[in-house]
């Protein structure tokens, strides 16, 4: 056995979806191979869930000496083992460094993590999600034990109610109330359901929790079952999350084997079984009644409410539905108490919230922050601002049901009420930052297209209205929009919002409404001036040849539409009636004489 010069006993390799696509599994394999080859037996390689800073992946952490390697490739492993582990010389070029001074930073020193506060994600990136012992070591199942052995179901519900926890899936309904309703509902048979149909494009926190700490959800659902009087539960996961499904299956099997699921859990007399159901690709299944339809094996169309699922849900029985992140908070609340939880966040929205920070921002990844933090702090402190020298234009929260928040509101505290007031919503926590190159009419169109494709088709206003909205937006981005179209958009948005059957339809016009509210000038520019201020709408772009032109004829030859005329060594001109706006001329120009505006 060789001497180990470093203080490292554990190598944590992130195996979240992003890092896995960066070959994290190969990295793990290589570590194991290299360590074995080197005869090092006392360094454990741990495959963990997501660390959060996805844009720096694949990420490798060493413990307890606390080095933070970013953007590691499989080829780098040998060097880390030989240099760092065997020689005690961490590989400088791979260490994560402060953007301002180039100093290597540990994980917690990084700006990205400084303002974060991990509750739901506490074990993600810390434990091996495929090993139940890791989970137990990190206080796993202690909450279940506490609930089953020392609390009555009523006390559990009371604790959740007192914590002020609100549903993390979208609307923010007080979770304790849901638990109470379901507990009080009449019925022999009841169900606990976990909504893991994370449909919001741009949100992946539920995926990360299921990948990084699946047992926290299992534990919470068992607690919920005990509290409301259910012995059976379903976890509904998108089939698009194969890694999450894989780890959930392992988690269920291990929990069952260890007696945390099944009959007479912890000798308490309480029985609880869990099964997994896959979604098959329908955004609407995030809506709880549609999700119930889907678990029942039918198409996922929303059903009438009332009766609410708490009274009559899955298979006609009282059913408690919470989403993944909500459940991920339960264990901590039971362990630490409602007061501890309430101390975080704001009075109306206690606790933390996980956001999937993405888009035009330097640090991309999952961030968990106390409620009430401002958008500015997330974008500039955690996210480190906008890359490529561009400026912040808007942030989109709440996915297709949310809205676009302009720079004026960047200091808005992020909580359920404040976001609602400015026309957006918390949603499941997608947070997409957009820079000034993004056309807001285009963004509205993007979300509308999404909703057109995801509308379940049950009710007429959503089924038909969204298509007409999309078409009007397309006319505008194509340069064929009129002021009547604008009028039509307002009318249709009102109708779809007020007449749609379910919350998804009712909120579907939100991206349109917020962009109309905050970026109306962009709409007007498209309509009146046939101009896209962000320069994104291709059909509205104009190409011009400036006086820098040297008359080389390259562009003239490159133009597929023969729209460029001019003589050798004289400034060329683009015939706008012929130009098809393909951009071939710009690429061909050696002197950058052609501009697009």
């Amino acid at each position: 056995m060789r001497d180990v010069k470093s203080g490292c006993t554990r190598v944590l390799v992130c195996a979240g979806t992003c890092c896995v696509s960066g070959k994290a599994f190969v990295i793990i394999e290589n570590f194991e191979k290299e360590l074995a080859a080197a005869g090092i037996l006392d360094i454990k390689v741990v495959k963990t869930g997501c660390f959060g800073l996805c844009s720096e992946g694949p990420i490798v952490l060493t413990q307890p000496d606390d080095y933070f390697y970013a953007k590691v490739s499989p080829q780098d492993v040998k060097e880390i083992v030989e240099e760092h582990f065997m020689q005690g010389r961490p590989v400088q070029r791979l260490l994560y460094k402060d953007a301002s001074n180039g100093e290597a930073l540990s994980l917690l020193e990084a700006d990205f993590y400084k303002k974060q506060h991990k509750v739901a994600l506490a074990r993600c990136g810390v434990i091996d999600p495929e090993k139940i012992d890791d989970f137990i070591e990190q206080d796993g199942f202690k909450a279940l034990e506490k609930a089953l052995l020392t609390m009555t179901p009523g006390q559990v519900v009371e604790e959740i109610k007192n914590s002020g926890l609100r549903g993390r899936g979208g609307a923010g309904f007080p979770s304790g109330k849901k638990w109470e309703f379901t507990k009080n509902a009449a019925g022999e048979k009841k169900y606990v359901v976990c909504n893991g149909d994370e449909g919001d494009p741009g949100a992946f926190m539920d995926e990360s929790i299921l990948e990084g700490d699946p047992l926290s959800v299992v534990e919470a659902m068992a607690i919920a079952g005990y509290a409301i009087g259910a012995n059976e539960g379903y976890i509904y996961v998108r089939a698009e999350y194969p890694l999450a499904i894989h780890r959930l299956k392992i988690a269920l099997a291990q929990a069952k084997e260890r007696g945390f699921l099944g009959k007479n859990i912890l000798n308490s007399g309480f029985d609880f079984e869990l099964s997994i159901r896959y979604g098959a690709g329908a955004f609407v299944c995030g809506e709880e009644t549609a999700l119930i339809s889907s678990i029942e094996g039918r198409k996922g169309t929303p059903q009438l409410r009332p009766p609410y699922p708490a009274v009559k849900g899955l298979f006609g029985c009282p059913t408690l539905i919470n989403n993944v992140e909500t459940y991920a908070n339960i264990g901590k609340i039971i362990m630490m108490g409602a007061e501890w939880f309430k101390a975080m966040g704001t009075a109306g929205s206690p606790g933390t919230k996980v956001f999937a920070l993405a888009g035009n921002v330097k640090n991309i990844g999952l961030v968990e922050v106390p409620m009430g933090i401002t958008l500015r702090e997330i974008v500039y402190d955690i996210g480190q601002g906008i890359p490529d020298g561009r400026s912040f234009k808007a942030a989109q929260t709440g996915g297709p049901s949310g809205g676009c928040i302009p720079i004026e509101y960047i200091d808005t505290p992020i909580d359920y009420e404040s976001l609602g007031e400015i026309g957006s919503m918390m949603g499941s926590g997608g947070l997409i930052v957009m820079d000034d190159s993004k056309c807001m009419v285009g963004i509205a169109k993007f979300f509308m297209q999404f909703m057109v494709e995801e509308s379940c088709g049950k009710c007429a206003p959503c089924r038909l209205g969204l298509v007409r909205i999309y078409e009007a937006l397309a006319r505008i981005t194509d340069g064929n929009g009129t002021m009547e179209d604008l009028q039509e958009l307002e009318e249709l948005a009102e109708m779809v919002s007020s007449l749609s059957f379910c919350a998804l339809g009712q909120s579907a016009p939100n991206p349109l409404k917020t962009t109309l509210r905050y970026f109306k000038d962009e709409y007007l520019a498209h309509i009146n001036e046939k101009r896209c201020p962000a320069g994104e709408c291709e059909k509205l772009l104009n190409y011009e040849i400036t006086s820098l032109c040297i008359g080389c004829r390259k562009c003239l030859k490159a133009c597929p539409a023969a729209a460029i005329i001019g003589k050798v060594k004289e400034q060329h001109v683009i015939d706008k009636t012929k130009c098809i706006k393909c951009g071939a001329c710009i690429e061909s120009c050696a002197v950058k004489a052609i501009i697009r505006a």
Partner: protein, 349 residues
């Protein structure tokens, strides 16, 4: 009873009723497409929305239960505007060929378009294109007229129990079809036509022998003459001809019919119907004769047999097909006039 206010008028209504039922009781008409009292409430067409005066919230009347002191506005400016726009987008995906449409004059979409004074061409855009045709020898589905209320599929699965129709795809492409557009019979269709009867627009329509307009016909309620269920139905009559059948809401049929009740009425006008009495002459063939001649001959022959062989040599076969009145009178004829109990009908067959 609970107190509610509809358009400012106080009403006492049984708890548990929906706003729609309360309005109906109070004589207030609310438009509906997807509602049918026999089907599970769907609440999907949204045309029945009413406004809660306190919150200005719009709620579907067909699925919302009344609550004490509820203040409901059924035709407020907001409600009217929303219904109008909703009709306008429905029309934007509808083949507006009312001039030659089967259902002109008997179409809810047409009625409401008129009532709400819609701008027919207000919204433009693509229309749904269906990959599948659905038809059989009795009726056909015109996808371009379908408003996706789903009543056809629901009556087929919830009441008829044949599950022929699927409401397939999703979103704008939602359509009614058989699975993969297979033949209706393969999909289990028994041609009962209950989907045709429930369609509120011109999408599902019978293949008619005789054309007629809604305003050209009289509808007469009667009892179906086929099996022993005794379904109530309306005979649709134009120019003294039965040209169609529509189900009525009888206690034994609850608005349903079968293929025979709905479609097998052609015999009434059939050219092979007997119109004059026939008499077998010496040539062994049947020949037309006058009523007087035929009846007299029967009376004479009956009398003769009765005189020669006794009344019990005559057998009367009454019919399970004719009316009670006719059975009674024939019974009286056999017993009181001829004088025999040799009387039966095909109860055994």
């Amino acid at each position: 009873m609970i107190n509610i206010y509809i358009n400012g008028q106080q009403r006492s209504i049984l708890p548990g009723k929906t706003i729609l039922e309360a309005c109906k009781e109070s004589g207030i008409h609310i438009p509906t497409f997807c509602y049918d009292e026999r089907l599970k409430p769907e609440g999907s067409c949204r045309i029945c929305v009413v406004e809660l005066e306190d919150s200005h919230k719009l709620l579907p009347a067909c699925t919302t239960e009344i609550a004490p002191e509820m203040r409901i506005a059924t035709h407020s400016p907001l409600v009217m505007r929303m219904r109008k726009h909703l009709l306008e987008i429905m029309l934007s995906n509808h083949d507006i060929s009312c001039l030659k449409c089967e259902r002109a004059g008997n179409c809810l979409l047409q009625d409401y378009a008129y009532e709400y004074d819609v701008d027919i061409e207000k919204y433009r855009g693509r229309t749904r294109e269906s990959a599948y045709l659905a038809e059989n020898k009795f009726f056909e589905l015109d996808q371009s007229k379908c408003i996706s209320c789903g009543k056809c599929a629901r009556i087929c699965s919830q009441l008829q129990g044949n599950n022929v129709w699927a409401i397939s795809n999703r979103g704008f492409e939602t359509e009614v079809s058989t699975p993969f557009g297979i033949d209706m019979e393969e999909a289990g269709c028994v041609h009962c036509g209950n989907c045709v009867s429930i369609c509120p627009v011109g999408a599902l329509k019978p293949k008619k022998e005789h054309k007629f307009r809604a305003w050209e016909i009289n509808e007469i309620q009667t009892t179906c003459s086929y099996c022993g269920v005794g379904c109530q139905m309306y005979l649709q009559v134009k120019d003294d001809k039965v040209v169609g059948v529509k189900p009525a809401y009888g206690k034994s049929n609850e608005g349903l019919l079968c293929v025979k009740g709905k479609f097998a009425f052609d015999f009434i006008n059939h050219p092979q119907r007997l119109t004059t009495p026939l008499l077998r002459l010496a040539d062994g063939e049947l020949h037309s004769v006058s009523w007087e001649e035929a009846l007299q001959l029967i009376a004479d022959k009956t009398q003769e047999i009765k005189n020669t062989y006794g009344a019990d040599a005559i057998m009367g076969l009454s019919s399970a097909r004719v009316t009670n009145e006719e059975n009674y009178l024939f019974m009286k004829y056999m017993r009181a006039v001829i004088g025999t109990n040799n009387l039966d009908h095909c109860a055994r067959l």
